[in-house]
Every structure is written in C-alpha cells, then in structure tokens.
C-alpha cells in the first residue's frame, strides 16, 4: 500500500485524517522486508536450479538404487514435515503445508516413472495413476486446504479416468454400456462425495472447491459431448443402440445423484446442482438417441443445457457463472446463424443477415448479462419457476 493513494483519498475527502493515520499504522505493522525476502528467494531458486542441473547432467552415472533411495527419502522427509506442521496455524500450518502436500503428491507420481526408468518396465498409464490416487487421496483429502490440493486431486481423478477409458478402448472392440456410463459419471461421483464430505468436515472451503472443479469438469464434458454429437452425424461413439443404452444408464445415475444432492442440501445450491445434473442427463440422452446432424436441433439441445446452467446460476446467485453462460449461448447463436445462412452465402445476403444477427445477439447478450445477472454479493433467490428444460 503506497502513501500516495492514502493522500489522494485524504484530499478527496473520502477518509479523514484519523483513518489515514490508522491505515498507515496498520500497514506499517504488516509490512515485511520484501527486498530481503526476494533476495533470499532468488538465492534459494538458484541453489535449487543448480542441484537440479547437477543431478540431470549426471543422471545416468548415478546408480538407479541411489536415485530411487534419495527420491523415497525426500518423500519421507516431506511426510515428516507435514506431520510436524499439521497442528500449527498461520503461515506454516496453512500455506506451507499445502505447498509441501503438493510437492509430495508430485514426487509420489514421478516415483512411478522413476521406477519404470530404473527397472526398464512400462505399464498402461492408468495403472500408476490409479495407484497414486489410492495411496495419496486419504492424505490429500484429510489435510488439504487450498485450491492447489483440491485441483491436483480432481485432475488426478479425471486423468486416471481418461487414461483408463483410452486403455479400455484399446483392449476391446465392443465396449460395455455399463462401464461407459460409470466411467463417464466420475465427475458426478466426485461431486456427490465432496458435497457429502462438506457436511461432516471442518474444512468446508476445501470441499467446496472440489465440488466446483468437479462440476466445472462435468459441464465441460457434457458440452464437449454435445458438440461431438453434432459434429459427427451418427453419434459420438458409433452404433446407435449402444450409445442410447449409455445415455439411459447415465440418465438413471445422474438423476439419482441429483436427488441425493438435493437431499443433502435443501438449499438453493443443492437445487441448482441437481438441476444441472438432471438437465444434462435428459439433454445428453436426447442427443444420443436423436443422433441428428440437423444444425437447429443440435443448437437447441446445446443451448437448452446451457440455459439450465444459467437458470441454476440465477437461482443460486452465481453472478460470474451466469455471465459466462450468456456469453456461451450468444456464441452458439452466432454460430447457428452462420450455419443456417450457409446456403445464402453465395448471394452475399446471407453474410449481411448473419452479421446483423451477430450484432443483435451481442447487444442483447450484453444487456441480459448486466440486467438479469444476480447481484454481486447477494445470494438473491429469484423464484424462476421456469423448469430447467
């Protein structure tokens, strides 16, 4: 905080002299020797980089057993520090411990690769990822506090899922519908799990982050699926009956999850998340069954899903989410107008129409995102009985 700003505010009559004095005292108390810290940081960084280059340059000359032992000892040391920092509050207990947890998780993951390098073994990617997930999840989920840990866990879970899906496709020519429905529902399971844990944990912020990451991944995956459905006429995965089987199982799973979530959380958020899940299940199912290459139908399905997300955002007062939704729907409308005007492009009239529509949509979307968006801080519960369909 610079004195200049305080002086400007003082001159403008925004704050009085007392307040200015108190702000200055407060900031003086909080000030840290930034220059010193940055030099220490720079020195530490240089030492770290030096060690890394020394090890890297002589990597093949260091016997594998020695390297693996050092790797495991590092992991042991970090585990010990986490144990010592756990009871502390403040900087050490909260931030440093999270950073250590993150480094531990990364070191743990690289240990598998290191073993493979030393022993010349290789295995499908999902196996080390799944093992990592089993070994590190309890620790990460029991002690994590910040977004670094919630993010690495959700990324680890989804990475394992995607790697396993890829491996499964290599193994079989006739994928099982039940497996496909279960594996694609992973974000939903993570979401339900995090909502349940938030009820019984003292670290609500952490579990909320996991919910948010899982929900974001789910919405992104459904969106990609809808885009893929429209891009490849005849469906995303081929044979028709099989795809609608998956859709039907997902419909059951996701609706069940939605009910469960609403059961846990009889508040706006619970209803919103449940609404998104049910809308996703129904729309994805319809898209799978329809397998249409009609631009209008696909655009309607896409926008219906995002409208459901937008409704949930209004209902729960997620301002930023709502504005994102408006932007995405507007973009989809613009793409649709170009798709429909495609035949007219040769006449030039189509271009004009598409351009006019684009400008109109942009203006309307801007208005909607300002006027209809939930207030900045209020969790205003607008009763919008319009169903999520």
């Amino acid at each position: 905080m610079s004195d200049r700003k305080i002086n400007i505010w003082l001159d403008a009559g925004l704050i009085d002299a007392d307040t200015a004095l108190r702000i200055r005292e407060y900031e003086a108390d909080r000030s840290r020797p930034l220059g010193l810290w940055s030099l220490i940081g720079l020195g530490t960084l240089a030492i770290g980089l030096g060690i890394i280059s020394l090890v890297a340059a002589n990597w093949d000359d260091i016997p594998g057993m020695v390297r693996l032992s050092v790797h495991l000892l590092l992991i042991v040391g970090i585990c010990g520090s986490i144990y010592l920092f756990q009871p502390r509050k403040g900087f050490l207990g909260l931030y440093l411990k999270d950073v250590l947890l993150f480094i531990l998780a990364v070191l743990g993951l690289t240990f598998f690769g290191h073993l493979g390098q030393v022993y010349q073994t290789s295995s499908p990617l999902w196996q080390p990822l799944a093992t990592w997930l089993i070994l590190f999840s309890p620790l990460l989920l029991l002690t994590g506090r910040g977004w670094l840990i919630s993010l690495i866990w959700v990324v680890g879970l989804l990475g394992t899922t995607i790697a396993h899906l890829g491996w499964y496709f290599e193994q079989t020519d006739t994928p099982q519908s039940f497996y496909m429905a279960m594996i694609t529902s992973m974000p939903v399971f993570a979401l339900v799990f995090a909502l349940f844990m938030r009820k019984i944990s003292t670290r609500q912020a952490f579990w909320k982050q996991i919910e948010q990451f899982a929900l974001a991944a789910f919405v992104a995956a459904v969106t990609l699926k809808l885009i893929a459905d429209s891009a490849t006429a005849g469906g995303f995965l081929g044979s028709e009956g099989y795809v609608s089987d998956i859709g039907a199982i997902q419909l059951g799973l996701w609706s069940g999850a939605a009910l469960l979530i609403y059961g846990f959380n009889r508040i706006a958020t619970g209803a919103s998340i449940g609404g998104i899940l049910i809308a996703a299940a129904i729309i994805s199912f319809v898209s799978s069954v329809a397998q249409s290459s009609e631009p209008l139908g696909n655009a309607i399905l896409f926008m219906a899903f995002w409208a459901a997300v937008g409704w949930s955002a209004i209902y729960s007062g997620w301002r930023n989410v709502f504005q994102t939704v408006v932007a995405i729907i507007a973009l989809r409308l613009i793409i649709l107008s170009f798709q429909l005007a495609y035949d007219l492009f040769s006449s030039g009239l189509g271009l004009i129409i598409a351009g006019v529509i684009t400008i109109a949509i942009a203006v309307i979307a801007y208005r909607v995102s300002r006027v209809l968006a939930p207030g900045k801080s209020s969790a205003g519960k607008q009763d919008d009985e319009g169903n999520d369909q």
Partner: protein, 183 residues
Amino acid sequence: MSRYRRFFLPLALLLPLVGLGLIWLATEQESREGTEWDVPIAGYDPRDLLRGHYVQFRYDWPAVGQEDIPIWSATRKSLCIRGTAPDIDSVEVQDVSGYSEQMETGCDATVKANPWSEEGNDGLIRDRIYVPQEEGRDFDRKLTNPKLRGIVRIRINNSGFITPLSLSFQPRLDDNSEQENVQ
C-alpha cells in the same frame, strides 16, 4: 482434532510411504524373475546406431524370417521360444489368443510386444539398449565391424515382455558361404 491427529493423519502419511516402498520391492522382485536368452541382432541402420545413450537394433530371431513377424498386428502375435536358456533352438510365430494352449505345447518362453513400451507394437522386432557414454565409441566401432555379430542378452519376464540386459559381440560365421555349400 486430537483424535484425527493421533490416529488418521499418521495412517494417511504412512499409506503412501508403505505403498511406494512395497511397489518398489515388487518391481525389484519382478525384475529378477523370468528367463534370460541370447538373441542375435541385425539390420540396424548404420547411419543411426547410437541415438542419445542408446543403441537401436533389430532382433534377428533364429529361424524366423523378418516378414513373418507382422508389424501392425504385433500385439496380437507372440513368439514361442524353444531351447535351453540362454540358447534359442527355434522360434515360432503364434496368435496371442491361444496363449494358454501354448503353455501346454511346450514353449520354453513366450514373448509378446509390450504396447506401452518405447517401441510400442514393434517390440518384437526392434529394441534399444542403454550404453554408458564412455563405452559409446567402442560399441560404435564393433557395431560397424562386419566380422562381428551383436548378441543381446534379454530377460523375458512372466508377462512375456522383453527387457534387453546387455550387448556382446561374437565373430560372425560366414553364413552365406555355408549356405551355398549346403545347397
């Protein structure tokens, strides 16, 4: 909090340590299992013998033509090796689907391509072996010497995957003249 600290946290911290340790042990154990065989190598590209710290080579399986091992469907094929380790008497190309039957038909070792390795589906045909930097020049000279034949010692583990262990050289018998004499 105290119960959590006393009971759950140490367990959660011990789980990755014990788990990683056990996986290390299991990998170590596995690396000692299986049988070792000597396979002649051939057909290496003389322009590109050493790539980084690795020698790239092709397996010259005895009594198998190069074209008998399909490149594209290598994951569905296996090699049935007969002989007394480390000497290979004969090699036969078989389908992976009949794997269990092969065990009864008396293969001394069965080799499959490891699709997750560096070589991918080509694992039955080509491979690479690490060479320390200071020995690189020596290997380079021996590999290009037409009078020497490279022999790679491989380990075939219980899953049928190959790990090249070491590279040695033998004076090459003049195969062509021998064959001409027979004909």
